[in-house]
C-alpha cells in the first residue's frame, strides 16, 4: 500500500496528470484570458462596439510608434487624413505633424463596470480627434479590436450556456434511460435518434425561422442558445445513457442496494458522480459545436444582428472576396474562433486521455 499521507481519488489523480500536460495548461490559460477579457470588455476596449466613424471606413491598423527621432518616448500615434486616389478609392495618408499620445486609463465612453460601477475609464485611448485602430476598422469605421472583445462576450458565452443547458437535459434523459432501462430507455433513445437524425443545419434554419422577426438582439441571442442546445442535447444524452447502463451493473451498486441504500442515494452518490467526471471531456468537445453554430448563423445574417458584435456577424463582412483583398484585417474574428475551438478540442482530448488511462491513444 502506498502510504503517503495525501490520498488522491482517481479523479484528483487524473487532474494531476492533466496539469502535467503543458499544452493543455497553455490552452486553459488562453481560454481564461479570453473569458476574462470578455467579462471586462468595456474596460479593455478603447471604443464601444457601436462607436461609428464613417470617414474611417476600412482604415488599416494604425501603427504605434515608440521612438520620436530616435529617442524613446511615450507611445504615440499619427493622425490620419482621408484622401481618394485616382481610382476614387479611399486611401489613408499618415499626417506626420499631428501626434496623439496613447494614454493609459484614458477616459472614454461611459459604461457600468460589471453592470454596477458607472465609470468612463478605458485601459487605453487617444484624445478625441485622433483614432486608434489597433487591428484596423470595419466598413463603418468601428474599431475591430473593441468589437472583437465584445464579440467574444457573445460567442464564448453561447458555448458555455448552451452546453450547460444541453448537458442538464442530456443528464436527465440519458440518466433516466440508462438507469431505468426497458421501455423508458427505448422511447427516450428513439427520441434522441430523431433529434440526431436530422441534419443539424436544416434544423437550425427551421427553428431559427420560427423565431419571430421582431426579436431584438438579446432575445435572438437567447433564442440561438435554445436552438443550439436543442440540437446538442441528444448526442450528450446518448453518451450519458451508455455510461449509466454500465454503471448500473457495477457490483458496488448491487452492494449498496443490499446494504439498504435507497435508489435516490445510489443515483446521487454512485451513478451521477461517475457520469459527471467522465462526461466532462464530452462537454468540452461539444462546446466548439455551439461556437461554430452561432458563427455560422450570424455569418448568413440569421444570428446576432448588427450593431451588436459577435465573431460570426463580424465575419459576414468578409463574405466578399474584394473586401478581403483590400481589408484582410476583417478576418481577425475567424482567428479567434479558431483559437477558442482548438483550445477546447485540446483540453477535451487531453482530459479524455487522463480520465481513461487505459483508453490512451498513444
Amino acid at each position: 500500500m502506498i502510504n503517503n499521507n495525501r490520498h488522491h481519488s482517481q479523479f484528483q489523480l487524473a487532474l494531476q496528470r492533466f496539469r502535467g500536460n503543458k499544452t493543455a495548461m497553455a490552452c486553459v490559460f488562453i481560454l481564461g484570458f479570453l473569458y476574462f477579457s470578455a467579462v471586462f470588455a468595456e474596460f479593455l476596449s478603447p471604443y464601444s462596439y457601436k462607436d461609428e466613424q464613417r470617414q474611417y471606413s476600412y482604415c488599416p491598423p494604425t501603427p504605434v510608434h515608440f521612438f520620436d527621432q530616435g529617442r524613446l518616448t511615450w507611445p504615440y500615434v499619427y493622425g490620419l487624413q482621408l484622401s481618394f486616389n485616382e481610382f476614387y478609392k479611399r486611401e489613408y495618408v499618415t499626417d506626420v505633424n499631428t501626434k496623439y499620445r496613447v494614454k493609459l486609463f484614458a477616459s472614454g465612453e461611459s459604461y457600468k463596470l460589471l453592470g454596477l460601477i458607472p465609470t468612463r475609464v478605458h485601459l487605453l485611448g487617444v484624445e478625441s480627434p485622433g483614432r486608434i485602430y489597433l487591428l484596423g476598422a470595419d466598413s463603418r469605421g468601428r474599431d475591430i479590436f473593441s468589437r472583437l472583445i465584445f464579440g467574444g462576450r457573445v460567442s464564448l458565452s453561447i458555448g458555455l450556456i448552451g452546453v450547460l443547458i444541453s448537458f442538464t437535459i442530456g443528464l436527465l434523459i440519458g440518466g433516466a434511460a440508462g438507469y431505468y432501462g426497458g421501455r423508458v430507455d427505448n422511447y427516450l433513445m428513439r427520441l434522441c435518434e430523431m433529434v440526431i437524425m436530422f441534419p443539424g443545419f436544416y434544423l437550425l434554419l427551421a427553428l431559427r425561422s420560427a423565431v419571430p422577426d421582431d426579436f431584438n438582439s438579446v432575445q435572438v441571442y437567447f433564442a440561438i442558445i435554445l436552438i443550439l442546445s436543442f440540437i446538442g442535447w441528444a448526442s450528450l444524452a446518448r453518451i450519458i445513457r451508455g455510461m449509466c447502463l454500465s454503471l448500473r451493473e457495477r457490483e458496488y451498486v448491487l452492494a449498496a442496494k443490499s446494504l439498504g441504500v435507497n435508489d435516490f442515494h445510489i443515483i446521487t452518490q454512485h451513478i451521477l458522480p461517475h457520469t459527471l467526471s467522465y462526461s466532462i471531456f464530452a462537454v468540452m468537445l461539444s462546446i466548439p459545436g455551439y461556437i461554430l453554430g452561432e458563427s455560422a448563423l450570424s455569418l448568413i445574417g440569421l444570428g446576432i444582428q448588427d450593431p451588436f458584435a459577435s465573431w460570426g456577424n463580424m465575419l459576414s463582412d468578409a463574405m466578399s472576396i474584394v473586401r478581403i483583398k483590400f481589408a484582410p484585417w476583417i478576418l481577425w474574428p475567424a482567428f479567434f474562433i479558431f483559437l477558442t475551438v482548438i483550445c477546447f478540442n485540446i483540453i477535451g482530448n487531453v482530459l479524455r486521455d487522463c480520465l481513461d488511462p487505459n483508453l490512451k491513444g498513444n
Binding site: M1, I2, N3, H7, H8, S9, Q10, F11, R250, E251, Y252, L254, A255, A256, K257, S258, L259, G260, V261, H265, Q269, H270, P273, H274, S277
Partner: protein, 291 residues
C-alpha cells in the same frame, strides 16, 4: 431452528425470440430449488457456469425477485416485508461479491465505503465517534491497519480490497454471509489467507457462511454441507466428507474426478434431468436427485 429456508424457488429467464410471438423458450436459471441453512453450518453451492448458483444467491438477498417459491428467514416469510421488518432482513443477510476491483466504488474512501454500510443503523451510528470506533474495530477484525481510513480502493491489492468488502458486509452484524465466488479471482496464496480469515471471523461474529463456487477444492475446507447444482437444480446435497468420499449422482462424480484428479469421466450420453425430479434422502442426511 432453520436460519434461512428456501422452498422450491423458481426463476426462468425468457430467451429473446424473433418478435412474431409464439411460445418463447425459457432458460430455467433456478428450477424448483429447496435448501435449508442452519445457524453455524456453512453450506456451499457448487456448480459450473450457467448452473444458476449466482441467480439463486441474488434471489436470497432479494436483489432479484423469484418467479415462485418462498423464502423464510428465521421462520418468517420474507416475500412482502415492509419497513422495519424489511430493514431487519437486510441487516441479517449480507453478500461479498466476486470481483474485488468492481465491488468498491473507486470514488469512495475506505471510511466512506464502511460508513455507507451504516445507513440502516443511523440511530446507533449517529456520531462520528461511534462510526470511527466501529470501523476501526472491523478493520482490525479483517487484519487491515487502522490508518487507511482516507485511502482509495485503487491504492489496495485484490486481497486487501476483498478484506474491505468483508468488513463492509459485517458492519450490520449479519447472521448469514453469502460469498459469491469471493475468492476465485484471487491469487492462490491470497485465496488461502482469506479463507483462513473467514474461519476466524465465523467464531468471533457467530456467522453462517453460504459459499458460491465453481471448484470443490476451494470450498472443501470451510464448508460443512455441499450442494451440487446442475442446470438450475440441486442434484446432490450432503455433508462435505460424504460428498468427497461417496458421491452418488453422476454429475457429482464427474465434478469430483475433474477437480481432484483432473480426469474427465467418459460419459456416454448427456446427464438428463427430469423436469420435476425431487431430492430423495438415499442415506442419513445425503440427498440425491431421483432420475
Amino acid at each position: 431452528m432453520i436460519l434461512l429456508e428456501l422452498k422450491n424457488i423458481k426463476k426462468y429467464f425468457p430467451i429473446k425470440r424473433k418478435s412474431w410471438g409464439g411460445q418463447g423458450a425459457f432458460v430455467k436459471a433456478v428450477d424448483q430449488v429447496s435448501l435449508s441453512i442452519y445457524p453455524g453450518e456453512n453450506v456451499s453451492l457448487v456448480g459450473e457456469s450457467g448452473c444458476g448458483k449466482t441467480t439463486l444467491a441474488r434471489i436470497m438477498i432479494k436483489l432479484i425477485q423469484q418467479d415462485s417459491g418462498s423464502i423464510k428467514l428465521e421462520g418468517q416469510e420474507v416475500a412482502n416485508l415492509k419497513g422495519s421488518k424489511f430493514r431487519k432482513f437486510r441487516k441479517d443477510i449480507q453478500m461479498v461479491f466476486q470481483d474485488p476491483f468492481n465491488s468498491l466504488d473507486p470514488r469512495f474512501t475506505v471510511f466512506h465505503i464502511l460508513k455507507e454500510a451504516m445507513t440502516l443503523e443511523k440511530v446507533r451510528y449517529r456520531h462520528f465517534r461511534d462510526q470511527e470506533q466501529r470501523i476501526k474495530e472491523l478493520l482490525a477484525a479483517v487484519d487491515l491497519p487502522v490508518n487507511i481510513l482516507n485511502r482509495y480502493p485503487h491504492e489496495f491489492s485484490g486481497g486487501e480490497r476483498q478484506r474491505i468488502a468483508i468488513a463492509r458486509a459485517l458492519v450490520l452484524n449479519p447472521k448469514l454471509l453469502i460469498l459469491d465466488e469471493a475468492v476465485s479471482s484471487l491469487d492462490v496464496l491470497i485465496q488461502d489467507q482469506i479463507l483462513k480469515l473467514l474461519q476466524e471471523l465465523q467464531d468471533k461474529f457467530q456467522l453462517t457462511y453460504l459459499f458460491i463456487s465453481h471448484n470443490l477444492k476451494v470450498v472443501r475446507r470451510v464448508s460443512h454441507k455441499i450442494a451440487v447444482m446442475y442446470k438450475g437444480k440441486i442434484v446432490e446435497m450432503a455433508a462435505t466428507q460424504e460428498i468427497f468420499q461417496n458421491p452418488l449422482h453422476p454429475y457429482t462424480k464427474e465434478l469430483l474426478s475433474a477437480a481432484i484428479e483432473y480426469k474427465s469421466v467418459r460419459r456416454s450420453e448427456d446427464i438428463n434431468i427430469h423436469p420435476n425430479a425431487q431430492l430423495v434422502e438415499k442415506e442419513k442426511g445425503h440427498f440425491v436427485l431421483d432420475v
